[in-house]
Symmetry: C2
Subunit: 301 residues, 2 copies
C-alpha cells in the first residue's frame, strides 16, 4: 500500500471566466469545489490505476468538512486528522490560462504534528512506500517531512518527497528514497540554478535518487546506478497542474514494484504526460496513457 | 426603525496582493472574511450613526454560518432566515485596485421567498422605512423587490430600492418611494444611456423619486417637487465600494426624519463621500464626514 501525506490540504475552488480583467468585477456563473492537496492527487492517480493507497492529512473548520465530503465522494481511501486550524482555500480563476490565489493554511500545533506522525506510524507496518507531498502550513518546521522520512526508514519503508527549499533539503539529509522537485523548488533548496548539479548535490546529502521535472526540457533522474534524461515522444497540450503529482505516483508505484530506475523514469514521464492531457489534477487521460506507453525515450547522460 | 433586506448575501473574502499577475500563482499572506451584502452595509452605516435598524436576509450552508458569526460580532441587529441554498462567496483581490469575483448565489425556493416576505411582514408594523438592496440569487423572479415594495405600501411604509435592470423597473412600477441605481443599472432598466431621461421615465412608471450616482459627475435626483444635482466640495480618494450603500442609508434616514428633498440629496452625497474615504464597505470616515457636512452644493436643474 502507498501511504500519502498531504501536510497542507486545501479546498480548491475554481471559477471559469472568459477573460481575467484586473480592476473589474467578474460575475461567476458556476463554482467548482474539490479536495485539493498534492498528496491527495497522488492517491487519486494511484486509486484510478488500481494501486492500493491511503491518503492522510490534517483538516479543520468548515472548509475541512467540505474537503472531507469531496474525498468521500471520490472513493479514495483516506484517514483525515481533525485539527483546530481551519483548512485553507485556493482559488483558481481559469480563462485561457489559470491564475491562482493560494491561502497559506494553518498554523498547526506541535501536538497536531505529533498526532499526524502517530497516525503515519500506525499505518507504516502495512505500507510499501510513503509519499510526503506539497507545501507546509504557516510556521511549520522545515523538518516536518524529514521527521516522517526518518520514522519510515526505521520501519524499513522508503519515502518519496515532493517539496522545495529547506524542506526538500532536510528530507534529503534524512535519507528520503526519492526527491521530486521541479527546477524552481530544487534551486530554492541548493541555492543555485543548475538542475543536474543540484540533483547530484541532494543525492550526496543523503537522498537515494532525485528526479527533476524541467517542463518542456523533459525530466532528469540522478541515482547511484546512473543518470538519465527522458521526455514524451511529442509535446502534450493541456493543464500542467497535477503533472508532478502523477510523476510522484509513478515513482512510488515503481518503487513498490521494484522496477529498474530507467523504467521508473519512463513511467513517471508517461503518467505525467497523461495528467497534462486530463482536465483536473489527480486524473490521467486514458487515451494519452495508452498512446504514449512504451514510447518514452530514456537516454543516459 | 429602518428595515433592510439583502436578498443575496455573501461571505466577502479579500486577499491583498502586491500586484495581480494573470496566469501566475499568488501566495496569499492574510485572509479577511466579512459578512457581505448591500443591505447589511446599509444597516452597518445606520447602526454606526445611532439610527435604529434591523438587517434581514436568507443564509444557508457553512459560509452562512461564518456570515452570521461576523454579523453577530459587528453588533448590527439582524434576523437571518435559514434556507437550504448555500450562501455564496465573493473574492476581492486587492492591489492598487480591487478585482472582484462574485459567485451567483442561490437559488432559493418559492417557499423561501414566501418565508422572507412573512418575516418582512412581521417587522413592518414597527418599520419607518424599508430598504431592499443588492443583486438577487440565480433564478429569482424580477418582482422579488417589487413584491416587498407592495407589501410595505399596504402597511404605509415607504421603500428605498437599490438594484438594476428589470428588478429596478418592477420596483418602480410597484411604487417604491426612492430608487437608487447607478448609471449602468439605470441604463439596464430603461434600455438607453441618458441618466436624467432614464430617472424621469422610472418616476413616471411609478417611483416616488430616483437618485442616480454618476461617479465623478456627481449625483442626480429627480422628484415630483423638483430635480437637483449635487457633488462633494472636492474629489474624495479611496474605495468606492460601499459608497452607494451609504447613500441608500442617508436616503432612508432622510425619509424617516422627513427632511426636504435637497437635504436628503446633500446627506446622501456627504455619507457617500465619507464611505469612499473609509477602508471597508459599510463604514464612513468620521473626519471626512465632519469636514464635508454642510459643504455639499445642491443645484436645481
Amino acid at each position: 500500500m502507498i501511504l500519502t501525506v498531504t501536510a497542507n490540504p486545501a479546498l480548491d475552488v475554481s471559477y471559469r471566466v472568459d477573460e481575467l480583467r484586473p480592476g473589474q468585477t467578474h460575475r461567476i456563473r458556476a463554482v467548482h469545489e474539490r479536495a485539493g492537496g498534492k498528496g491527495f492527487n497522488v492517491s487519486r492517480v494511484l486509486y484510478d490505476q488500481g494501486v492500493p493507497t491511503l491518503a492522510l492529512g490534517p483538516v479543520g473548520g468548515i472548509l475541512g468538512d467540505s474537503l472531507r465530503a469531496d474525498l468521500v465522494d471520490s472513493g479514495v481511501p483516506h484517514d483525515l486528522l481533525p485539527v483546530a486550524a481551519a483548512t485553507r482555500m485556493t482559488i483558481a480563476v481559469v480563462a485561457t490560462e489559470a491564475t491562482m490565489f493560494n491561502e497559506p493554511g494553518g498554523p498547526l500545533s506541535t501536538a497536531d504534528w505529533l498526532r499526524l506522525a502517530g497516525l503515519v506510524g500506525e499505518y507504516l507496518p502495512t505500507t510499501d512506500v510513503l509519499v510526503c507531498s506539497g507545501s507546509l502550513p504557516l510556521d511549520a518546521p522545515d523538518e516536518t517531512y524529514a521527521d516522517l522520512v526518518g520514522l519510515a526508514r526505521e520501519a524499513g519503508v522508503p519515502t518519496v518527497v515532493d517539496a522545495g527549499g529547506p524542506v526538500l533539503r532536510a528530507a534529503a539529509e534524512a535519507g528520503a528514497a526519492v526527491l521530486k522537485p521541479n527546477a524552481e523548488e530544487l534551486a530554492a533548496a541548493v541555492g543555485f540554478d543548475d538542475p543536474l548539479r543540484g540533483a547530484r548535490l541532494l543525492k550526496e546529502a543523503g537522498a537515494g535518487a532525485v528526479l527533476v521535472s524541467l517542463g518542456a526540457d523533459g525530466t532528469l533522474l540522478v541515482t547511484d546506478e546512473g543518470e538519465w534524461r527522458a521526455a514524451p515522444p511529442y509535446p502534450i497540450a493541456g493543464n500542467p497542474t497535477g503533472a508532478g503529482d502523477a510523476a510522484v505516483a509513478a515513482l512510488a508505484d515503481g518503487l513498490r514494484r521494484g522496477l529498474p530506475w530507467p523504467d521508473r523514469l519512463a513511467l513517471a514521464v508517461t503518467w505525467s504526460a497523461a495528467a497534462v492531457a486530463a482536465p483536473l489534477a489527480g486524473m490521467m487521460d486514458a487515451d494519452t496513457l495508452a498512446e504514449i506507453e512504451g514510447k518514452v525515450a530514456v537516454v543516459p547522460l
